[in-house]
Amino acid sequence: MHSAETLKRTPLYASHLECGAKMVPFGGWEMPVQYSGILAEHTAVRERVGLFDISHMGEFLVSGPNAERALNGLLTNDVTKLAVGQAQYTLMCNHLGGVVDDLIVYRLEPSVYLVIVNAGNIEKDFLWMTSPAPESAVINNLSDRFAALALQGPAASKFFDFSPTLPHFHIQRHQVFGKECWVARTGYTGEDGFELFCEATDAPHLWRMLLAWGKQFGILPCGLGARDTLRVEMCYPLHGNDITEKTTPMEAGLGKFVSFDKGAFVGRDALVEQKAKGVGRRLVAFTMTEKSPPPRPHYAILAGGHKVGEITSGTQSPTLGIGVGMGYVEVAAASVRTAIEIEIRGKRFPAVIQKKPILKKGP
């Protein structure tokens, strides 16, 4: 899709090479897929702590007296419920209810929002959000100015004095190793952790200092490979795989992030209709019930001997040691505990539909 020449590099490109990264193309970017190994990096995040470069993600700043109303017209969740300093997971839909992108909105000030979008969707989202020309709301694409690091794992809380006063899904301005950052207690791994948004030029310093400080906890730099296995175990959808412009939040089981009572937003009519009629397919999670090759995207899902859907994300779960994944299946086969089969190279392997998330965490 992209030749090596046109791939973008984050401000941490040289840091990755120093750490021995294997680089791969992802969403138009040249990114580290792994350093020491996906399994070791995955385990570091589940048991200790890992550091990711997520500078490929896009950052938009939405501001102005009409920012709240503009966002509420574009996004499915209700932005007015956000207090200053809070974060919210939300979706941006087209008029048919298909998902243009999934994103996190942080309310930084009463009328200033930081919006984080997926790497491969930055230009598309910016056009989509600015084309209706919202009155007195200004949308700035700061993706090239910002770098972002994700510090994830149970030991992440031991890095900062401010940890006890930065609650889950909140964001605050802090000095981290001498650099001004927006620090959010969010992530994409299912573990406690932080996402740090900083000036691009400060990123190599922060990367180095976080890895040095984290040595005492057994920190590892982690690549996109582990980021993917971690999020699949938690059933966090990946835009482009599990949610696309041809699937809706209702089909994906993300209805709780759609606020029908907040007034008009793009896609509302289509989603109201779908909610009333019911969906024809659902995004389900599954685990293999015996040893099998790892399930992968596009493999067929069968129930009662017939194809009922297709895998959208799948992998060998490093935590559970078995194949796990997600995919859309016809509603008749979508109930938890339904026995299904996954077709892999012409052979069928048994699996079962699971309640999400696949990995049950916490006390």
Partner: protein, 126 residues
């Protein structure tokens, strides 16, 4: 990169150890490093006729499934059953405990088509 002197190599990164008319086959150290953490190995069935240069096994890492090609033609007479429970042997010990299958060669002259250790080392830029 470890390229033992007593083996022959295919350009597709399999190694062969000759034991009489039997060829023991595995993947090279370079291959296992490129594949990364192996989580599943599909060996050929015993008795299967494999053909030099044709795919006959699959090695899967977390990220991808990769075909393994038979370096010689013949019948599969043994497979490494241990790989089913311990696929990581391909990463940990690719030239010994990580062997994949044994072929009774029908045309040992095919061995001359394989690369010497020096030529293979050159092939992978080592």
């Amino acid at each position: 990169m470890n390229v033992p002197k007593n083996l022959k190599y295919a350009k597709t990164h399999e190694w062969v150890r000759v034991e009489g008319d039997i060829a023991v086959v595995g993947i090279t150290d370079h291959a296992q490093e490129e594949l990364t953490d192996v989580v599943y190995v599909e060996t050929p069935a015993i008795g299967l006729r494999v053909e030099a240069g044709k795919e006959c096994a699959v090695v899967e890492s977390v990220k991808a499934a990769s075909d393994i090609y038979a370096p010689v033609t013949g019948d599969v007479v043994a497979v490494n059953e241990e790989l089913s429970d311990a696929p990581e042997l391909l990463n940990q010990d690719p030239y010994a405990k990580g062997w994949m299958f044994k072929v009774k060669m029908s045309d040992p002259s095919e061995l001359s088509e394989l690369l010497s250790p020096d030529d293979y080392a050159h092939h992978i830029g080592a």
